[in-house]
Symmetry: C2
Subunit: 390 residues, 2 copies
């Protein structure tokens, strides 16, 4: 696995709250843009990977973009937690020769159509939907009567325990939100381009889940599409841009687990799934935290950034608050985080926009370009990547 | 890929029309049976693969069977057409070191709960269900007003064209149904154990889709569960049974395609998806049709066996009827087919029961054991396997 595959092309639509066109159109625009970006012809593509929650069938995306026969197509589940697992799948296909050029795509009208942040329509939907949306295990309906009807609500049970354990406040979380919005402000593709956020504005925004999450702790809900082209590192080196080599890719479902927000682990203040992912990333890549030049950390809600920084090992348990307060995360710090503005500032495209930003940083084409980038870590709670300059 | 992974363990529940217990119970029984079969401890399992239509979450299956942390979990779509793709996924994980011991599972109460043979509840279900059930592309709703509401109906459009092209009749299809039921009759695990079918009974059974499918051309609808344990061929050789080495595994979505029954191909009498799969199987394994000692051919409806025999190359286009009439398919023929009774005679467990039968034939433990079996081919329309004696 180590280094045999690379992200050769990236493509995206604009990020908005009302795209005005179908999800299939968004998907095809993103796929075509990613192929154009690297110069791979649609006819070369023999693999398509997306997520179990994506409504765009492989056959339709292929037919509409000029892609022909496919020898690899698979979907990964567990919502945003599985974001990086799609890249793992694609890299496995390339490494084993099952496919030569795999496109990962994700496109939705997540703001103008079905908003993930709204209460999930569990009651009216059949088992099939609830279970495969990655949103719910068999136990989920038991939580609903207690008011846990949205991702913000069910995640906050875990976050509140974390706050209690380490004395972290919502104002502390706000410092991450301010950081993300600062980066978004200078990223023209970001929804919040030109609109930084002050800590006062954060603290003045309404509670979504008191005392855990305010409005500005919650990610955007976005319309948009993104695609990645993954091929062998050798082939990628012959294409238009320097490849983002997949140095490591992993997914993880901890023992006695559930989806990202689970109440079964012995220690709710630890992110057991990401610890499992991090172990694999270091082992596959041979790298350590000291080698990482920037990190794109899944941030559907501010607190999860704190827990992931600890799970990866950038700091110890309970130390993320001080880590960020000390200035880590900014563009000129030793570990810049979410340099595009993240899911709070750029867009919520299922977390796939973290992967495109990591690729841009390695190419040297990011809006907030860092000066020297060899290795970028990307996390998505239950999955992760290390991308390296090729 | 070639030969690096193997099926080490198989497990199943009884096959019935009313299991009397939950789908999760069936899944866990099958998984535990497969692990017991080969002697792999639950704690060794680090991968779980199932189908996008399976309602049993990985977390629940793991928790209930003693399986711990997972580093690989993915789902394959396109219904029964994707059956062998789950084994491809597992083999890829083993080949790349992403997982060491992967369990594939499929369990449902497909007769006593949601019957796949009934009209699909498209109207009342949200997009999400229709699209991800593998049953429908964006075009599907356009077919519904014309009476194509069940798998039998939409498949028959293609089958009828095949009949027209090659002068094949329903009585010809009946000869395959008789063959399958003959094999099921002597398989104690089969739903139709002890109940062979005569051609007269077949021809006397009611039309499901006239003039294509009679009742006995249609597969069973079954309650039950099956699991497979896939690990490295080297590890498998140290376990309880001779391994069924995965000599080749492939999936295929033809250009300008749709799900298994599609109306877009230039030539509806050819099975373009399986031709694509077969090419990969021969290339991966280095084998040819002459090396195949037995074939387990996906048979949700009799006619698809004819089309698949031709797509694989066991006979030429339009020749399957003569091939079967000449006696191929029987236990003492050069190419025994569906020796367990297939989906018409044993059970409909999504086609996974074809994979268990192939494994048993290679081990020498099938109810209708063949005398000399080195290589068995398994098809599922859009995916396929070659398993070899280890």
């Amino acid at each position: 696995m180590n280094g045999s595959a690379a992200i050769a092309g990236i493509g995206q639509t604009e990020f908005s709250m009302d795209s005005g066109r179908s999800e299939l159109t968004l998907a095809c625009e993103a796929v075509s843009a990613a192929l154009d970006d690297c110069g791979v012809a649609p006819a070369e593509v023999d693999g398509l990977v997306t997520y179990s929650t994506d409504l765009n069938n492989e056959v339709e995306v292929a037919r509409s973009t000029g892609i022909g026969a496919l020898t690899f197509y698979v979907r990964t589940g567990y919502g945003g937690g599985g974001t990086c697992a799609a890249v793992l799948q694609a890299a496995m296909a390339v490494a084993t020769g099952v496919a030569k050029a795999v496109v990962v795509y994700r496109a939705f009208n997540e703001r103008s159509k079905t908003r993930y942040g709204r209460p999930q329509p569990v009651a009216g939907w059949p088992d099939y939907v609830r279970r495969n949306a990655g949103g719910g295990s068999r136990w989920w309906p038991w939580y609903l009567p207690f008011g846990l009807g949205t991702p913000a609500q069910w995640s906050s049970i875990v976050f509140q325990h974390y706050m209690h354990r380490y004395g972290v406040t919502n104002e502390d979380f706000g410092r991450y939100a301010v950081l993300a919005r600062t980066h978004a402000a200078t990223n023209p593709a970001a929804f919040y381009a030109g609109k930084p956020l002050s800590l006062e504005e954060h603290q003045g925004s309404r509670w979504i889940v008191e005392p855990v999450l305010r409005r500005y702790d919650c990610c955007l809900e976005s319309d948009g599409g993104i695609a990645l082209v993954i091929t062998s590192a050798a082939r990628a080196r012959d294409l238009r841009h320097p490849p983002a080599v997949i140095a490591a890719a992993a997914q993880g479902l901890a023992a006695n687990g559930d989806v990202v927000s689970n109440y079964f682990h012995d220690d709710l203040a630890r992110f057991a799934e990401l610890e499992l992912v991090a172990d694999q990333l270091w082992r596959q890549s041979g790298l350590t935290v000291d080698d990482i030049d920037a990190a794109m950390i899944y941030d559907h809600f501010s607190p999860i950034v704190f827990m992931q920084l600890e799970a990866i090992g950038f700091c110890g348990p309970g130390e993320a608050n001080h880590f960020l307060a000390d200035g880590y995360g900014t563009l000129d710090s030793p570990l810049p985080i979410n340099t595009h503005g993240g899911l709070l500032g750029e867009a919520y495209i299922h977390g796939v926009n973290h992967i495109t930003e990591a690729t841009r940083q390695l190419r040297g084409t990011a809006a907030n370009q860092l000066s020297s980038v060899d290795h970028v870590l990307v996390t998505a709670g239950m999955s992760g990547l290390i991308l390296s300059r090729g």
